[in-house]
């Protein structure tokens, strides 16, 4: 026996490089992303969608979807849902507003406490799900109403209104606030404007400054969350635990995976992502409203499903979810640039979403041979 044959392990099945590339969950999302961009370059290429302002607009919207989709994706791979994401966004924003504006606490304390509160609520969500064995659909649906109710009740009680403003003034000079609401790489845009690559303001106090003056931290957060979550999911033992917990929880328990802990942690991570979304939004706009984040939980799930994750858990990818979020954001914003009548806008959105999901499933079935 030569050394070469002895190194072959009979437990490992050989697959071709091409096949391995094709069975990745994000393949459908990659194809979809390319298709969507080609579509809009053809039909909205000269409408302002691809000038600096337009690109920033759909990137920001997509980045919002990415942030909540990353959390939803990890949780869905672990086999659970969270329908309280949208309410959590409104709740977290209001929490920061009440602590910083109404109670007058420093903004960084308000942000840190709100993160702690949200992650704790995520843990409660997860704890109830694993302890009772109830579907997460029902448990988090309850929290959808509980959180939204509090979000409307507290500001009404304290300030007699449902929008609390003035957070931007409270956040002036704060060390933590710019990490969520700031902009970076402004000098790049100054330079681009000076060589005439992007437009500048024509009038007002900002005349001469570039229309796009930096990359919002929201986008940086989105990229960072994707990178971190992707590495954890594909390169660590914990990542395998997440897949195992969502694939077959009982089998995972037999081989020693702490399934309950993994699921609770994923609920906490989802809440964390919702809180990042809320904090960025509050810091950017300077106010928190009781109806912020309405229906965002479904948008997150849609992005994840376009991204190739299975609704039943155990299969999916963060990159796919991010691309799904990109598709969703680009389609949602792009149809306006393409001049689609606003009433029909949602019809188109629905059709494209359906098409993307069907394409996704179809490709995966052909390649993996699953039925």
């Amino acid at each position: 026996m030569s050394d070469a044959t002895s190194r072959i392990d009979e437990r490992v099945k050989e697959t071709s490089r091409l096949r391995r590339a094709l069975i990745r969950p994000e393949l459908g999302a990659i194809v979809g992303t390319i298709a969507v961009f080609v579509f809009f370059i053809v039909f909205a290429g000269d409408s302002g969608m691809f000038n600096a302002q337009g690109v920033l607009n759909w990137s920001t919207v997509s980045a919002q979807f990415v942030i909540i989709a990353v959390g939803a994706c990890m949780l869905m791979i672990a086999g659970e849902f969270d329908l309280s994401v949208g309410s959590m966004i409104g709740f977290a924003g209001m929490s920061i507003a009440i602590m910083s504006v109404t109670l007058g606490w420093p903004v960084w304390i308000a942000i840190l406490l709100t993160f702690a509160l949200c992650v704790a609520i995520g843990a409660v969500n997860g704890w109830i799900v694993v302890r009772t064995g109830l579907p997460s659909f029902i448990v988090t649906l309850a929290f959808l109403f509980i959180l939204r109710g509090f979000t409307i009740f507290f500001p009404q009680l304290i300030e007699r209104q449902t929008i609390i403003g003035g957070i931007d003034r409270a956040a002036e000079g704060d060390w933590l606030a710019p990490i969520f609401g700031g902009k970076v790489f402004g000098f790049v845009f100054d330079w681009l404007a000076s060589v005439g690559a992007i437009d500048v303001f024509e009038r007002g106090t900002r005349a001469g400054e570039p229309i796009v003056d930096g990359i919002p931290m929201l986008i940086i957060w989105a990229l960072a969350l994707v990178a971190v979550a992707h590495v954890i999911l594909t390169r660590t033992q914990f990542g395998n635990w997440v897949f195992a917990a969502g694939g077959d929880a009982q089998a995972a328990r037999y081989v020693g995976v702490p399934v309950n802990r993994v699921k609770i942690l994923m609920f906490m991570f989802t809440a964390f992502c919702a809180c990042v979304f809320a904090t960025c939004q509050v810091m950017e706009f300077g106010s928190a409203g009781a109806d912020r984040g309405l229906l965002k939980e479904f948008e997150a799930i849609i992005a994840v499903v376009i991204g190739g994750a299975l609704l039943t858990g155990g299969y999916g990818s963060v990159i796919g979810a991010a691309l799904g979020a990109l598709i969703f954001g680009v389609v949602q914003q792009g149809l306006f640039f393409a001049g689609v009548e606003s009433s029909l806008f949602r019809v188109f959105l629905g059709v494209i979403l359906l098409f993307a999901v069907i394409l996704n499933t179809y490709i995966r079935r052909i390649i993996t041979g699953e039925r």
Binding site: S47, Q156, G166, E202, L295, Q333
Partner: protein
């Protein structure tokens, strides 16, 4: 296969050229509202916008955040600005959220007119050409004074859009006009007709000495009429409402509703298009803000109102 591809390519090119031609023809104005999809009141706005666009030969577009989320609305304004229209017509439902994007649009050379929500002062601060609408608090206050004159001392304010500050301002203005504390006289009714109807009945059962009911639009007025009919209070309790709709007009005729405050939304969409088109074509601009309301509509002279309720009124 080749011919199919060729045809497809040709069709795509033709479609793109057509779209381009349509955009180049005349000025383009985008109206951005804060209304969720479910709010039927805004149909009048859409009708006013469409008619003005047709009459002036300009392209008009209507955009709104599907769930009424104002942060989404801010993104829509940014998006509208990026598409480089001649003008943007928008509401100023929350200055904190919207003034940044509106200011940026103004500074990049797009003319803006504020309609419906916000105040003339806020419109001036964001650099808008003018404000077209009905100052909400003042309208509520005027209604409160009128009701006080009619002997009202307590009321129920049915708020179906509690997350918008202007709704609360109407209730607050009404309370101040009456000279009473708003207290818990305002309820968050939600948007579902059955829920609104039942909450009104529950409140009136719990507070039987309530003198008056104030609703903030057809969404809350229609179910409230049903609630009053069911409780045998229709025509018996003092009932005022904001805005008009078919059922409200019927209520006015039947004597169930004493008055409706018409802020004439049709004008809020129609006038800005006319004003901006004339401004862009001939450089003429009215020197002041335009108040589209408040106008009290009562049982007298309902004919015209009736004919166009929900369409242009």
């Amino acid at each position: 296969m080749k011919t199919i591809l060729k045809t497809m390519a040709a069709t795509a090119v033709a479609a793109a050229t057509l779209a381009g031609a349509a955009q180049a023809d005349g000025e383009r104005y985008v109206l951005v509202s804060h209304a969720p999809d479910s709010d039927s009141w805004w149909n009048t706005i859409k009708n006013g916008l469409a008619l003005a666009g047709e009459q002036m030969g300009v392209t008009v577009e209507y955009r709104n955040p599907p769930t009424g989320d104002l942060a989404d609305m801010a993104r829509i304004i940014e998006q509208a600005a990026a598409s480089g229209p001649d003008g943007i017509i928008t509401t100023l439902a929350d200055p904190n959220v919207l003034s940044g994007p509106i200011r940026a649009a103004v500074d990049s050379g797009i003319d803006v007119i504020i309609i419906n929500s916000g105040t003339p002062e806020q419109a001036r601060e964001v650099g808008a050409l003018m404000y077209v609408g009905q100052p909400e608090y003042d309208a509520g206050y005027a209604a409160g004074l009128r009701a006080a004159g009619d002997g009202v001392g307590s009321f129920l304010c049915v708020n179906h859009y509690i997350s918008s500050p202007s709704s609360t301002e109407r209730c607050q203005g009404f309370a101040d006009g009456l000279g009473v504390d708003l207290g818990n006289q305002m309820i968050d009714s939600g948007q579902d007709p059955a829920e609104i109807q039942n909450r009104v009945m529950a409140y009136l059962n719990a507070n039987p000495d309530t003198d008056a009911v104030l609703t903030l639009g057809p969404t809350s007025a229609d179910p409230t009429i049903l609630a009053l009919e069911q409780m045998g209070l229709a025509g018996d309790i003092y009932f005022g409402t904001f805005d008009l709709g078919e059922n409200i007009v019927q209520g006015l005729r039947d004597g169930v509703i004493q008055w409706g405050i018409d802020q004439q939304p049709y004008l809020q969409a129609y006038l800005p298009v006319i004003v901006m088109t004339n401004y862009h074509r001939f450089g003429v601009l009215p020197g002041n803000n335009i108040n589209s309301g408040p106008g009290f509509v009562t049982a007298d002279g309902l004919e015209m109102v009736e004919q166009f309720a929900g369409e242009y009124r």
